[in-house]
Amino acid sequence: MENFIAGTLTLFGNTTSILIFVGGLLGGMVFGAIPGVSMLTLAAILLPFTGHLSATDGIMLFSVIYCAGVFGGAITAILFNIPGAPENAPTAFDGYPMTRKGMAGKAVGAAVLCSAFGGTCSALLMMSATALIANWAISAFGPPEIFALVFFGLAVASSVGAETLWKGWLSVLFGLMLATVGLDPVGGIERYDFDVPYLLAGIHFIPTILGFFAVAEVIVQMERRAKGTYESPKVSLDFPSFVEFWRLKFAVLRSVVIGFFCGILPGIGAVLAAFMGYNEAVRWSKDPSKFGKGELEGVVSSETANNAATGAAMIPLLALGLPGGALTAMMIGVFQMHDMEPGPLVFINSGDLIWVVFAAMFFANLSIFFLGWLQTKTVVHLLRIPFHFLAPAILMMATVGAYAIRGLTVDVVVMFIAGIVGFFLRRSGYSVAGIVLGIILGKIGEQTFAQAMQMLYYDPMEYLQRPIGLVLLIAAGVTIVVNVFRALRAPVVAARQG
């Protein structure tokens, strides 16, 4: 506790640190909300300048950007169906339908509260047992377990958002196939690139997400206007009530656990956390058919989980020097610029720095609550703008977002193609969320599968020696069998009842 107080005093003890804290917070929120130009862009811009800051301020700035950036993308996901980052994609599944139903204030409010809660819990867990958790996670979770986790995630995702289970599976599998384009992760062999150099690097998931969500949504709304069935969303500023949150307490706690757990795993992080949090909410629900149509629990589960992953992602970085994602990898750069190496020695040699970072993350998450509350009362008014004025602005923001990642106009073409394909797939009852998850998890899944097979000498029975992986594989198998059984029986039962 005294360490935390000392860290807090150092953080708020001088004006420079306070300014850096506030700047990182606002910058993270703004950049997180702009699709394509994510918190990573801000971090990359700021990285060279951190050399002029003290090591403590530099690391603290990045940790605050991380917390705020993960939350920032939820606002555009809810209001316009444009996830600011991949980890906000599941938030759009129910957040945007809530906006269409005139419950935007409630959805944004839930995102604010849950992001702050998830992040704060994660920060507290991080403070209490970083070294212990890091050692456990790294020793217990190898490629076989990560593959089993990905497989479980895909098995659950297939039952979300599509008209039938089969279309859900086709969506996820289509995403997996798109992820195979480019060089294979083991031997670097070219696959499905048709001798187009652009395709060698694979299809980037940011343009596809922007296409499937933002562009497809604009086309859907344009179709409604053309049919004369368009209705502009009602603007509401209601905050979710305490009773509504109390009803969702298990969903929130479950998502904190899932988010924290996924956050610790290198390379998995907030994206899988958000999808898993959402998927588990669907799986545990008494009425899964409510999801995707504006269910508050969907927003709550996704936003709690992705923010709960932020604190957890710092654990392997600080305790073992292993970055879990792009932003934590940049943080290693900040350490190195100050002639430091993250790892167990940091706790001994620079304990004060660590506790300033912990305190900054804790207060950043608390600040999200207050700044987010202000956002709820202000940004929701953007919905008063007629959609046909917003549509070109959304398309242009998405264009800049897709282009800015790699400076390639082909990414813009890919985005618009994804938008048109997404429009037709949505009309036919497929799940664009499933496709996106397939693309994101496809690469991790194939890579960890290959590593797992090499580690297990191509003998699946070796999984018997790895209880965590075994449990996850069994859970995935049971999910698939139960879902397939239900899907096969559904038309028969309907025929009997009809």
């Binding site: 039938t164 196939m177 344009m222 053309a226 106009t409």
Partner: protein, 174 residues
């Protein structure tokens, strides 16, 4: 019996799976350190796609039979709409890819205001002050935020005189 739409979907997925499976023979070289090679994973995914298509086919056949016995028509067939609907949808679906294709040669700075105005017009906006005002507002906002504030290097085009105009604008903005 299947509806035309359902038949198209089944045919599409089977053709996709078949074509993608055939293409795996282009990269079925062995990898020394990995038994399943680069082709193993996509082939398994494609086989599961075929199984899922069969599942959907089973679902469609049973659902359609029930619908037929109940005397209802399958949904989504035979809609005849106002020609204006097709014009609007054609524009909504055609304009963005056209913009994307022209982005490289003509550049963002020249093409964007034209695209925004055209899109607004296609969306049904006919009031000229609004058409020009909204176009100008979105354009100026984008340029100020991305080109001036964030220094995002947007395409300037590679054809004369668009390239020169874009660079002149960039100098003016920055």
């Amino acid at each position: 019996m299947l509806t035309r739409g359902q038949l198209f979907e089944v045919a599409f997925w089977l053709a996709f799976a078949l074509a993608a499976f055939a293409l795996t023979y282009q990269f079925n070289t062995d990898i020394e350190i990995y038994e399943f090679g680069a082709y193993g994973w996509p082939r398994v995914v494609l086989i599961v796609i075929v199984l899922a298509v069969l599942g959907q086919l089973y679902h469609d056949l049973l659902t359609n039979r029930r619908a037929r016995t109940a005397g209802s028509e399958a949904a989504g067939e035979g809609h005849v709409r106002d020609p204006a609907y097709y014009v609007r949808m054609g524009t909504a679906l055609g304009l963005p890819p056209l913009y994307a294709l022209l982005l490289q040669p003509l550049g963002f700075y020249v093409l964007t205001p034209i695209f925004i105005a055209a899109f607004l017009y296609a969306a049904g906006e006919r009031r000229w002050p609004w058409l020009l005002g909204v176009t100008a507002f979105i354009y100026v906002f984008l340029v100020l935020v991305f080109a001036r504030l964030l220094y995002v290097g947007l395409p300037t085009g590679n054809i004369h005189p668009f390239y020169d105009i874009s660079n002149w604008l960039l100098v003016l903005i920055r």
